[in-house]
Symmetry: C2
DNA sequence: CGTTTGGTTGAAATGTGTCAAACTTTGTGG
DNA sequence: CCACAAAGTTTGACACATTTCAACCAAACG
């Protein structure tokens, strides 16, 4: 629940799910000069090898980072939801080592690196908050390594669904165990390192077990405990401030 | 090649492989109060769930971060070599979401979080350097996700070996295409998400193809170009300042 | 020198990938 | 609003990379 008008802004909501900000800090963040753009689905925002001079804040929609292998295989490294700043790392890493693309239609806000740097200089706690946000990203990458490396398809997909629901819930995008989850089975496949066909069969298994209802871009969790157990999901790695809000 | 005496210190060598530091900054880093300890192989330094008040700098030896699944499977997320600060993230993430353990006997230096914070306050560029170091860690995690998710065993191991050689070379630990690589096949298995048995067979394939010579904890690269191609290895994601020093 | 740890081998079991086709939904232009 | 195209989902049969189990061998170590 928003405690003030400012909380309505996705970036602040997200930062507040990770730590607490003073009103002055919130205002400072909201005053960042930002160029807001609407993008269509399946569009690249930045590409591997680019040397961007700005960051991209996701305001509405779903996006992902990915890399291609020489043989044309794609690995999705991370899904991004409203409030995330998927390429915050470009602030310190000059050359992007992955591409960032939309999954759905997206509203994004571009912020010049210089503006972010100024903000960080003026408000060291905000600098820490941004740093922390990139560290949580890293924690999610680590969990994905475990997920892909050690779990078979069934648990792997269950875990991914748990993570998405938990993250969406933390920014208020889950109602009644139901949320928007618009990625295609092919995209789920590229994220989990499973073939599209097998994702399809495994989702049927999850449905058959009465855990979920996933259709037409909408996910309904029918049995949270069951899904959590299937994916051995423990939300600690997301480092949320209010983990209670995460557990259904 | 060390350009001054200070470069002899692993932490500075490492930071300088990622960016350039002024002499004053180097001195400041070297003046950090540090408790140096020698640890035995296969010892935990910190564990998942801990809330450490200090960071751990690896001065000598090999270490790794890992997580266990409830069924006792282990996933190694990252290998660490001299100069790395494996749990720098704990500066901003209070609860550790992975364990950190030694692979070999290690010399490590513990630095209080407060000392690091003071240093970051006094030298914003160093704060940026540390931030950058955690971002490079994140970039490596992303590459591992791709490696585990999209490549089969042969390429996966080749890629891992390329990465280790490149990182070791960047801190001066490779001579004549030969370096210390003391992890067991079981550890390579846990890092790549392959069974130990299959790691064994795949290493034999790599040897049979004339790419490497790995025995008794020593790796010799016989055909760098061949190994690089097998693993589709491109070192960009390591964000090294002198990428030339990386290519053999 | 025995014990432990790590490496190697073979055979059988299996989860997952591949290929190819059909079906369903979504989106769009006439 | 229908018709068509495009995109996404579902299905079946088969191939295969990798796992598992179990045993044996080699090296390291106290």
């Amino acid at each position: 629940m928003p405690t003030s008008l400012h909380d309505a802004h996705p970036i602040v909501t997200k930062l507040e799910s990770i730590l607490t900000l003073s009103d002055e800090e919130k205002v400072a963040i909201l005053s960042l000069p930002m160029q807001v753009v609407t993008l269509r689905p399946d569009q690249d925002i930045v590409r591997e090898g680019d040397r961007p001079l700005r960051c991209c804040a996701l305001l509405e929609g779903f996006a992902c980072t990915y890399k291609m292998t020489p043989n044309g295989k794609r690995q999705i490294m991370s899904f991004y939801i409203p409030g995330d700043i998927p390429d915050l790392q470009s602030l310190h890493l000059n050359t992007l080592d992955n591409s960032l693309g939309t999954l759905t239609s997206c509203r994004v806000g571009f912020i010049q690196h210089e503006s972010v740097r100024d903000l960080c200089r003026a408000y060291p706690r905000i600098a820490g908050a941004f740093w922390r946000e990139t560290l949580v990203d890293g924690a999610i990458f680590r969990e994905w390594i475990l997920n892909i490396g050690q779990r078979e398809a069934y648990g792997r997909l269950a875990h991914l669904l748990c993570e998405m629901v938990t993250r969406l819930r933390s920014v208020g995008l889950v109602q009644d165990d139901t949320c928007n989850l618009p990625m295609t089975q092919g995209e789920l496949a590229d994220a989990t390192g499973i073939s599209t066909v097998h994702v399809n069969r495994t989702l049927q298994d999850l449905r058959g077990a009465g855990l979920i209802n996933l259709k037409g871009g909408t996910l309904q969790v029918l049995d949270w405990k069951g899904l959590r157990d299937a994916g051995e999901f423990h939300p600690g790695y997301l480092h949320l401030v209010r983990p209670n809000a995460a557990a259904a």
